[in-house]
């Protein structure tokens, strides 16, 4: 998004905004959404520990996406919610800040995977492998682990290196993605999916077994403690700090992905998804474009791996199983493949469900059981049915909204210069057809 372009869109959007044309039902929805958007943050601020308020607050961010307000107003509300209210809440409640940070991390991961799955149309079932590479890259050097095999230097490196490692992870993981892509991208469809899955397992098993003869990854024991990031020698180890870091990374990724999408590269990706042979016939270097999509997506995952390792202060191979790849893929499909807003909302929905709602309901039911009101056997605990609920949601989505919560919507970014568009759109249709031929 160029700034001028963006401002122009804001202006046009504000100019075309009208509330008067709404039907009764739409008005009701509008009022409800507005109520949630206003009430949820206030409630959360008054009761910073209430998890119901927190879930409602996150739902209000969903409403901001949907409500019928001009774009600038929606952006303003989102900025206030994300950059002001959330940090305030996060300072008192570390758990919520942590959940919020996880949401943003997964939102970024989904944006990355969306490049491969959504734009380019290549099913990648091994995305967590790149996440793992980034996480281990930082974990090894920001803990004493590197002392086992590095001939020089003293480890752990200080948290000041974190920022460099973010960049390094993009490059290293991007390169790993490139290397994996070389043999893999000759395959199509199902074969590609299976091979990416295989590669991801190979990488995970490598991390699991690289503890001898040279101890690089410390095997299944994992690596800990990992240095938290430092900025000018100030330790950033509170959940709310991580939230701030990932929010900045989110903004950067969002702009980069948006810019890629609206360029010859982004169009080439979608063209490959739509019809690979025709794309080639139009001169699109398909192999190079697929490799690029693969590498960029991998780079984004690697970057988030660094944050993940620092935030958990502990990595082991079980964090990067096939299930992890599937969860990210679910976010993309649930939100809407090919739609940036969609996959962000998808990440929000899945993480909230996973880390907040199911846990809350579980602990509520447990408390009821403890006080004797309800006799719930422990095998009925909702937290144990996470995957069942996931599966159900996916099945329902596929039946009722196969294109996701916010389906891909292609928008023309450019405006013709004055004088290029010579005729009124309506009149020329029949005229042109008879005049121009065909």
């Amino acid at each position: 998004m160029s700034m001028a372009n963006f401002l122009g869109r804001l202006k046009a959007d504000a100019a075309s905004f009208r509330l008067s044309g709404l039907s009764k039902k739409e008005w009701a929805i509008f009022v409800l959404q507005a109520l949630i958007i206003i009430a949820a943050p206030i409630w959360l601020l008054l009761q910073p520990g209430s998890s119901v308020a927190f879930v409602l607050f996150l739902a209000s961010i969903l409403c901001v996406q949907k409500i019928k307000l001009p774009l600038w107003a929606r952006i303003a509300i989102a900025v206030v919610d994300l950059a002001l209210i959330m940090p305030i809440v996060g300072m008192t409640s570390g758990t919520f800040a942590r959940v919020a940070a996880m949401i943003v991390i997964y939102a970024i991961l989904s944006m990355g995977l969306n490049i491969v799955v959504g734009y380019t149309g290549l099913l990648n079932l091994g995305y967590a492998a790149f996440y793992a590479v980034g996480a281990y890259l930082y974990a090894i050097f920001a803990s004493s682990q590197a002392n086992n095999f590095m001939p020089f230097g003293v480890y752990p490196l200080s948290g000041n290196w974190f920022w460099l490692f973010l960049l390094l992870a993009v490059i290293v993981t991007g390169f790993v993605g490139f290397l994996l892509g070389l043999p893999v991208l000759r395959l199509k469809g199902d074969y590609l999916a299976v091979v990416t899955l295989g590669f991801a397992e190979i990488i995970r098993l490598l991390f699991n077994n690289l503890s001898s003869p040279i101890n690089i990854t410390n095997g299944p024991m994992g690596i800990t403690p990992i240095q938290p990031p430092m900025l000018f020698n100030i330790k950033l180890d509170q959940p709310v700090h991580y939230y701030a870091i990932v929010l900045v990374l989110f903004l950067i990724t969002f702009v980069v992905v948006k810019n890629l999408q609206n360029s010859r590269v982004g169009r080439a990706w979608v063209a490959i998804r739509e019809d690979e042979l025709v794309a080639r016939t139009m001169g699109v270097p398909v192999v190079r474009m697929k490799l690029l999509a693969f590498s960029i997506a991998a780079g984004i995952a690697g970057m988030m791996g660094v944050v993940f390792a620092a935030m958990q202060s502990y990595v082991d191979p079980t964090s990067f199983t096939f299930m992890e790849s599937i969860v990210i893929l679910c976010m993309v499909i649930l939100g809407g493949t090919g739609s940036i807003q969609g996959v962000i909302i998808g990440a929000l929905a899945v993480v909230v469900l996973q880390l907040q709602i199911l846990k809350d309901v579980s602990s509520y039911l447990t408390s009821l059981t403890a006080s004797g009101i309800l006799n719930l056997p422990s095998w009925l605990n909702p937290a144990k049915y996470e995957r069942l609920i996931f599966g159900l949601i996916l099945v329902l989505m596929c039946i009722f909204r196969p294109n996701g919560l916010i389906p891909e919507k292609r928008v023309l970014q450019m405006k013709a210069k004055l004088g290029i568009k010579p005729k009124a759109p309506k009149a020329d249709q029949t005229n042109a057809a008879s005049k121009e031929g065909l």
């Binding site: 010859r264 739509e274 025709v278 016939t281 139009m282 001169g283 699109v284 008879s434 121009e436």
Partner: protein, 266 residues
């Protein structure tokens, strides 16, 4: 030097010889048609020029460069564009985006330009977009730029496909049955359009067509294929009176081709 020079081209699929030792030449600025009964190997011939199939034997030369072993994207780099018998647009992209994909080769922005959206890249995008608008105008689709390609009508999709091919700024344009599914009036308009295309766009055109009226009225030269072999080539008049051609068409009991024979004999 001929623009396109094909020598001894052969392609077999299993036991079937789809193209058998075909020689073919065309010059710059010509409109040349390839005709023949169904299954004669016309589309296979096109697909080999486009680099879709590996050539079993023989050579294809374009503008002095060998095309024989090139991939489709390398063929495109030689400014050869094409359309398809069954329209193949990027259905879920906008009309303008379809043509912008065709502009890909003429755009230079690198990854840094794109990620930071540098002025250089923005200028290039604007230029490409202006080109798209003028192409849409040229094929009579202006005002449709922001619609999804799949929402266009059949005739509009045909025009969009040609506009997309033109975005490559082709020296040679391959049209695979451009008049398929058009009524006689539209076919006549198509004929005028193709003639105009050659004049305005400075391009040579090679087309496959079943509609004899269109072929006869348009072509500088006609090549006739039957069972993968070239049975004749020459001017429309020569083809009209060629014994082998008449026989090839009479040999097929097909309503559409019977009409064609009527046209040929007329």
């Amino acid at each position: 030097m001929p623009l396109l020079e094909v020598k001894g081209l052969t392609k077999t699929f299993g036991g079937l010889t789809a193209i058998n030792h075909v020689d073919f030449t065309m010059d710059e600025h010509q409109i040349v048609s390839v005709i023949g009964p169904n299954g004669a190997g016309k589309t296979t011939f096109f697909n080999m020029i486009s680099g879709y199939y590996q050539v079993d034997s023989g050579t294809i030369k374009f503008d002095g460069h060998p095309l024989t072993k090139l991939t489709p994207e390398k063929v495109a780099a030689h400014k050869i564009a094409r359309t398809f018998q069954n329209i193949r647009l990027f259905q879920n992209m906008l009309v303008a985006e379809n043509i912008l994909v065709g502009c890909y080769m003429h755009m230079k922005a690198n990854l840094a330009d794109i990620i930071f959206r540098l002025p250089r890249m923005r200028r290039e995008e604007q230029e490409a977009y202006d080109k798209v608008m003028s192409l849409l105008d040229y094929v009579g689709l202006s005002g449709k730029e922001a619609e999804l390609a799949r929402n266009l009508s059949y005739g509009q999709q045909r025009r969009l496909e040609i506009a997309r091919a033109l975005a490559i700024e082709p020296k040679l344009l391959l049209l695979d049955e451009p008049a398929a599914g058009l009524n006689p009036k539209e076919t006549e308009e198509m004929k005028q359009f193709i003639l105009r295309l050659r004049k305005d766009r400075n391009t040579s055109i090679l087309l496959i067509e079943h509609d004899m009226k269109l072929v006869m009225g348009l072509s500088d030269k006609i090549t006739v294929l039957n069972y993968g072999e070239k049975i004749a080539d020459g001017t429309p008049d020569e083809i009209r009176n060629n014994e082998k051609v008449i026989k090839a068409y009479l040999g097929v009991e097909d309503a559409e081709d019977d009409d064609a024979v009527g046209e040929v004999l007329a």
